[in-house]
Structures are given as C-alpha cells and as structure tokens.
C-alpha cells in the first residue's frame, strides 16, 4: 500500500502540491488524471524519493519511506519515466536488464526475462541489439515499460507510459497491461492525461487540479452528477460513452432472445468486443439489436439498445 499524507511540495516559489493525500491499496491500479503541470510527475517522484516533500509524509506498506534503504526502495519500484529516458549508450537489452543486473540475477534468468518482456510489450526479440536512437518513440516507450517490469517489482510508478505510442498499439498495450495487471495484481500508480486510457485501466481514478486532488473514485463513480464542475469539464461530456469501453458485450448478454429471430437484423458482434463498439455498430447501421457470436463465430445470444440502457449504469444512476 502506498500512502501520501498531507504532502506539500514547493519548488522554490512554485507550489507543485498542496496538502495532497492519496491512498493506493495493495494490488490496485490507481490512475492519476490531470492537466499538464498539475503535479502528477511530482507525486510519482515523491514516492520513489527522487524528491523530498516540503512537508507531509509518505508511507509504503505503513512504513515511512525515510526509514527504507533508499537504494532497495527504488529497486523494488518499477519506474517508467515520462520522457522514456532510455540510456543512449545502452542497447535495448542493456537498458532492460539494468535492475536485474543491479540485483545480481544470473545471466540465464536475465536472458529468459528479457525474452519474456519483449514478447509482452510486443517488440521483436531481434530488437535486443538495437540502440535507442534506432527506435521510434513508441518502441522506445515499450522498452521503457519492459525496463520497469524487469525485476518484477511489486510496485509500479508509470508516468504517461504509452504517451507516444500510436493509437492501435496503445490500445493493444493497454489491453495487454490490463490483462497482466489482473494476473499480477501489482500496486500501480499510473499517470495520464488521457481520459479514455484512465477508463480502460483504472481500478480507481484520482482527478487532479493544479496541486490538489479534485475528485477520487472508481471509473463508475464519475458518471454521477454530484462532481464539481472542474471535474466534469475535465472528463468531458462524453465520459459516459467512453466508459462503455470498459464493458464487454458478454457482460450484458441475454441468452433467450436468440430464438425470437426477425427481431435481429443480422449484424453480428463478438462477445468480447466492447459495448462502445457494439453501440457504434448499431448507430452506424441504424438498428437497435445485434447478434452476439463467440470465438468460433457461433451465435450465442443477442443484445439490444435497450439492454445497454437498462443494464450498464443501473447501480450508479440515481
């Protein structure tokens, strides 16, 4: 668990954070969402103790970070920096293995780990010998993520890790990362200013305004009307639509409607597609129902526009 208690950080006369408090329970992916310059990177650097708070305390697993051995603390935290920060004189392999080498892993373990990580972030294994100047921004960023994951740290601090990846690969990385996170249950602080990315990944979202926390909650919590104007404005009026990306068709699949054919217009959607893509299809075809198919392209049910209306935000609507 990571905890910031009333943390204030001043850079000379600029107050980057003012009385900032945040708790990230173990195994939770906490997204920190906010406009440029609001202090997101500052929060991250405070946690791995790259900077010292002006006042306030920071705890990891209920232990004040001042009591940790600084070096061990940092080696136990995976860190993806905003500007990628690959070392130009190290090739991809050498960049990734920095922390495992510091931890004195065996060569065998390291090699196996690198292969695993490259597969994970979707880079060809023959990239190992490439130097950072030979990589595109997105490829570099994926190496940066692999480097952070290298020693399998329980805590991850990710500062806009997918910022310069193209949309297609970003979505793939987000999905992949979501999957790994379900599996590994690391404690993650994920900084972004992309609302959709926050929705896709977050267990919890913290929306920041300059220097302060504006609102905190699960992605569903932000659908309600009781948030302050700043938060609503930042999340945008299409927040609810974007939230549909968090649901899959199978979440609201209704089985029995298969039989009443004719009601179905013959367009199909995969059951693991998102509700937003199902809705898009309905709108573009001007219909209000779809057949749902599984991996074998067998029809397993159907969904209607009404199903979406009725089921999706049932709990949050008041």
């Amino acid at each position: 668990m990571i905890e910031l208690k009333n943390v204030t950080k001043k850079y000379n006369d600029i107050t980057a954070l003012k009385n900032f408090s945040l708790q990230i329970p173990e195994g939770i992916l906490q997204v920190l969402l906010g406009p440029s310059g609001c202090g997101k990177s500052t929060v991250i650097k405070l946690i791995n103790h790259l900077i010292e708070p002006t006042s306030g305390e920071i705890y990891i697993n209920n232990k004040n970070i001042n009591e940790f051995n600084l070096i061990n603390l940092r080696r136990g935290i995976g860190y993806v920096i905003q500007s990628i920060g690959l070392f130009p004189h190290y090739n991809v392999y050498e960049n990734i293995v920095i922390v495992p080498r510091l931890l004195k892993w065996t060569k065998n373990d390291i090699d196996r780990r690198v292969d695993y990580l490259l597969d994970l972030v979707g880079l060809n294994r023959n990239y190992k010998k490439k130097y950072p100047f030979e990589l595109s921004g997105g490829e570099g960023q994926r190496v940066g993520v692999a480097r952070a994951l290298a020693a399998d740290p329980p805590i991850l601090l990710m500062d806009e890790p997918f910022g310069s990846v193209d949309p297609l690969n970003r979505e793939r990385l987000q999905k992949e990362f979501y999957r790994i996170q379900r599996e590994l249950k690391k404690t993650v602080l994920f900084v972004t200013h992309d609302v959709e990315e926050a929705i896709r990944l977050a267990d919890n979202i913290a929306v920041m305004k300059p220097g302060q926390l504006a609102s905190l909650g699960s992605p569903w919590d932000f659908v309600t009307d009781d948030k302050e104007d700043y938060v609503k404005e930042f999340l945008g009026s299409e927040y609810t639509l974007k939230l549909l990306t968090r649901f899959m068709v199978q979440d609201i699949l209704v089985q029995e409607k298969i039989k009443s054919k004719g009601y179905i217009h013959g367009f199909q959607v995969k059951k693991e597609n998102t509700l937003s893509s199902a809705l898009s299809l309905m709108i573009s075809k001007g219909i209000d129902s779809l057949e749902v198919i599984d991996e074998q392209e067998k029809i397993v049910g159907s969904i209607t526009f009404e199903d979406i209306l009725k089921n999706v935000f049932r709990d949050t609507r008041k």
Partner: protein, 388 residues
Amino acid sequence: MPDSGKKISILGAFILILSFLLLSFAEYRPNRVLSGTNIGARELFGSGCFLLIFLSILIIFLIITNHKGHKLIITVTSLLIMGLVLYLFGIAIEKETFNIIPNGRISLGIGFWAIFLGMEMVMSGCFKGDKKCILYRRVFYTILFLMVFVFLLSGHLNNLSIMKEFFNRSNTFFRQIRRHFSLSLFSVIAGLIIGIPIGVLIYKERKMKSTILFLINLGQTIPTLSLLGIIMVPLSLLSQQNKFLKDMGISGVGFTPAFIVLVIYALFPVVHNTIAGLKMIDYELLETAAGLGMKNNTIFWKIQLPLSLPIILGGIRIAITQSIGNTILAGLIGGGGLGSIIFLGLAQAAPDLILLGVIPLIAMAFLMDSVISFLIFYYKKRYLGLAE
C-alpha cells in the same frame, strides 16, 4: 560544392599554376652560410612542369563542370600533383650539377610552401559544407604525409639540405622525437589524472567552481615562458634544500619544470571539457538512473562518464596537440625534445635545421589529433548514434 567553396578551390588552383610558372622550388647554396640562387619549376622539373600545369588546369575544369564524383577526382589529381612534384624534385636534385661542390646545399624553395597553400585551398573549398569534410581532408593529408615519408626513405631527397641536417644528427633526432612525444604524452596523462577529478569535483560542488576555475584559467593566461620562469625559481630552491628531491633528479632546469608547466597547461582543456561533458547530460537521465536504484558511484561510472566521454576526449585532443606544441619550450631549459633542434636552428640561423624540428612536430600533432578525432567519431557513431 557550394559557390563559396568553388571560388576558394579555383583560387587555390590558380595559386598552383602561378607557383609552377613564377616561383622558385629550390634554393641552391654553395655552402651553409652563403646566400643562394633560386631555381624555378621549369628549370628544375623540365617538361614535367607542363604536366603539372596541365593537372592544375584539370582541377579548375573539374570544379567548374561540377561533374559527378568530381571531389574524388580532384583529390586524386591533387595527390598526383604533389607526388609528381616530389618525384621530379628528387630526380632533379640528384643531377650532378648540384653535387660539384661538396658542401653545396639545396633547400626547399618558396614554391613548395605556395603549392601547399594552394592545395589546402583546393581541398578546403572542395569539401566545404560536406558533412564528412574533416574526415576526407584527414585522409588526404595522411596520404600526403605518407607520400613525403616514402620519398624521404627512397633516398631521392638525400641531397636536400634538410636531409643532410638529418643525417648529421640522425641519432639525436630520433631520440628527441621520442623524448618530445613522451614528454607531451605523459604531461597530458598527468593532466588527465589530476584534471578529470577536478572537473568532476567542480561539477558536483558548484560553489568551488569559481575559485578553482579562476586558478586554472590564470595558469592558462600566463605566457608559457613566464610560467616556466615562475616554476623554475621555487623548484631550484627546493631541490637545493631538499636532498631527496635532488637525488631524484628534480631541479630547476631540465625535465621537471617543463613537465610541470605542460601539466598545468593540459589541465585547462581537460577540466573544462570534463565539466562541459558532465553538464551536457540530460538531468532526467540521471534522475532515471537514480530512480532505477543505481548508486551514485554506479551512476558516475556507468552513465555519466560514458556519456560525457566524447567531450572529455575532445579535451584530451586539445590538450595533446597543445602540449606537443608547448613541449618545444623544454628545449630552452635543457628538457630536450624537438625544441632543442629548433632553437639550435634559430641560434645558427639555419632554416633547414628549424624545419627538421618543425616537420616531425606537425606530423606528431596531426597524427594525435587524427587518432583522437577518429576515436571520438567512432564512439559517437557506435554508441550514441550521433554521426558527425
């Protein structure tokens, strides 16, 4: 080739032609002291002179037509001209006319220096604005040096007075070259051993910066000769009083004061470039290194030093070339080196003797400069992906 480059090259080629037409390429003196007679290219090279002029015109033609691959052809033609001049010169001075009087001397005429100038202009114009300009020109001069070297070894030029000076003192000559080189090299190595830590220290403790840099800059602004004087006085006093120092051979003259002065001079570029190299590194990279859990020591050796190495090497390059030049002064105070040959030449008003000292000096500086430049080039390309 850009227009400004063309103009320079064409001017250079004209200088070549005019030199072949008008200037003297050899000066013949019946003995070392008497003033001599000048011999022009036509007289010296015979019909070969027309070939040389033709090749020079060819260069102008190539520049103007801007033909594909003209840079390579111009370079080859230039080398051909130089080779031909050396060859024809060698043959000419072997002729009996110059051997009648046993003490007769032939020196290089002003034409030689003029065609060097012309050649340099052709080359610099030719590669102006080219990214690899420095590399090409280095290759050109390396080949040129080799050519001169081969002609010297071939014996064709043995009648040249500079060669006679050489044969008169070939023993000391090579000894002085070695001495010169080791004095320059060791002073730079000592400069590195002292200078790099100072640079690192100044980089880390910014407060100390102004004081130390002031001292180092001060050392740099004092003329070499005065610094030598300043060092010699306390050093001789010390060695007179301290038997241990005296036994070690440390005294106010000779090797020690020269070495100390050279080290002080080498410090300046080394310290400056160490600071500049370290400063140039993106702060975020250092923060990342720390964030990944590297210790400060590791960060220095694995990140800071490798990343600032090209700039530090640049400092070493300046230090060594400068040191090779400054080492001449060692000759003044009995420290040996090529300076002793040069100053002897000055004292005897023997230009060939001066040349005998200066030419290896230039070759040495050029060689070291090239070697380190190549190291920097290779390192940047290989490890940092920066091609220059």
